[in-house]
Amino acid sequence: MATTALDQQRAHAKAHAEPTGLWSWITTVDHKRIGILYGATAFTFFLLGGIEALLIRIQLGAPNNTFLAPDTYNELFTMHGTTMIFLAIMPLSAMFFNYLIPLQIGARDVAFPRLNAFSYWVFLLGGLFLNVSWLFGAAPNQGWFGYANLTSRQYSPGLNVDFWMLGLQILGVASLAAAVNFFTTVLNLRAPGMKLMRMPIFTWMSFITQVLLLLAFPVITVALILLMFDRFFGTSFFVPSGGGDPLLWQHFFWIFGHPEVYILILPAFGIVSEILPVFARKPLFGYAAMVFSGIFIAFLGFGVWAHHMFATGMGPIADTYFSLVTMLIASPTGVKIFNWLGTIWGGSIQYKTPVYFALGFVAMFIIGGLSGVMHASPPADMQQTDTYFIVAHFHYVMFGGSIFGLTAGAYYWWPKMFGRVLDERLGRWHFWLMLIGFNLTFFPMHILGLNGMPRRVYTYPEGLGFEQLNLLETVGAFILAFSFAIFLINIWKTSRGPRNAPADPWNAATLEWAIPSPPQPWNFAEIPSVHARDPLWEAKRERGGPLPEPQRVSGEGIHMPNPSYWPLVSALGLTAMMAGLMLIHHLGPWGIIAGGAVLLFGIFNWAFEPAG
């Protein structure tokens, strides 16, 4: 029987089909698979953090409640914050960085595929390290910000702070490695013609985020090292009796912490800036202003940290300086908001789920930003700080902002990643329930805060007027949780349908929509040549109509990096070193040495294996 060219192509495609099975996921260096790993892991942690929140809300639903012991309550709010920031929002953003950046710039992968895999495994192990503390009955309980000298050995003798301290160090390594990777990727792997000012706005915001990561994480690394020396080796950096200063911790922490909040929000800014133009069927209003305002926010973000410390008595000069710069930083943010409004103004809006969440983002973020500007005034902040008014603010920007934005991105890019469009009707149910539940939960906190309800209290007495709003918030929290149940049902239902999403279901503008859904391992059959911003819209204009559905190719002649397990081995070595540090009083240096040996073994093999 004669084999035709088509038979040969099919046979080749089958032989080179994307590998399946657990081992292929463990050794993957494909940015798209790594992105999905990040997403699945992060979403699981998000649900865990959500359960922690629900437990908190049950406890606070009634005055003098005894649902949770005070110590457990402390663990829950600490882990809720730590989980949501480091194990949910950041890695959900990383899912999008991983999946989209190479696609949006027209590349086949990131600059360092194995380093990319390493970052994911370190993140997973760091998240597990943090949460294994629950099994020891010693979950972190010192607040996500770990103020000294509560964190000293004297006041926190147990393992709780150790788990937090070392867990965060592990996670920091993942973030730093990824930041080096994406920074290099964006600068170096752009397709021909993809000038910086032609890059998709999501790539720009992500790029700025990497710069923030690179500059902010070393500071918290040092702070955690100093804390570790205080706790393990008897130094007194933050211990007053030894001449140290607890406030120094706050400075170090917030020098990291403030850029961190921009790390949390910039990707969502980028996502929403991609979605609104597509669904308004108009280019982004003021692209250059969006880029430069992002850069300005990032740069200024290093100069405002002590607005988290207005109540610590820094003196009038420091207070004034930090207040002014904090108010100043509202300006570039305002520019963005007006540009989003300018984008949809006069547009012909298609109301699909992604744009609901994107519009929800804009509205909720405005509210969060307004309360933020209110805290920028030190006298006003003296009333607001450490009350529920602050809790309201940061949930409006982090949930109303980041989570709404990330959810918008999930619905928007789901077809590209999984080849299926999420159900539209369930998507709207998700949106409305999320919006209602979110506002019911967090809006009353503004009122409670100004009426004097403090933060981080495990209960409150009757008769202060806190009962009704707290109960309302608890109800709201459950509605919010239910909205995510609908999201899960949507995912499950969609997964049972046919995998037939077109390459470009939304009539979008950027390169990722030019390739099949989901993409083949090498992304592009041919590396594209870019002549304008919004290259797909430009191509459609030139063609006078929609582009043909891209064909899948055999991938012959396209060389992709080999899979590898050395990133995982190295990640295990690093985690073992941290575990060894934790057990230093039982194992002496041997745990650290053993972990270090595994790490070195992993790195050497990684360095000397053929990369492909």
Partner: protein
Amino acid sequence: MDAHTSPAAAEEHAHPSVGVYVRIGILLFVLTALEVGLYEITYGEHAGAAGAAIQPFFIPLLLLLSAGKFALVAMFYMHLKQDHRLLSGVFVFPLIIATVLIFGLILLEAYHFAFARAGG
């Protein structure tokens, strides 16, 4: 920055000669000797009137000498002078933030300690 140049083409910038490298090495050694000399004159065992006169300028002078060494190593040994400007940017921008951090912390903590000692 949008041109696709091959890695080989990018390395076509002038390499300093061995002689230049050695001369810079000697200069670095001399600058170090000056730093130590400055310390000895100002605070050393045999410090005299000259030392007292220099004292107010000691720190700025010292930092100037080290800045010189820093720049020499960065520009010539690390090749920043000949390399793509982006690499200089990637190095200098964090240095700016680092300087802000150091000075900010010193100022804030100095105030705190002064305040704490005075009344707190």
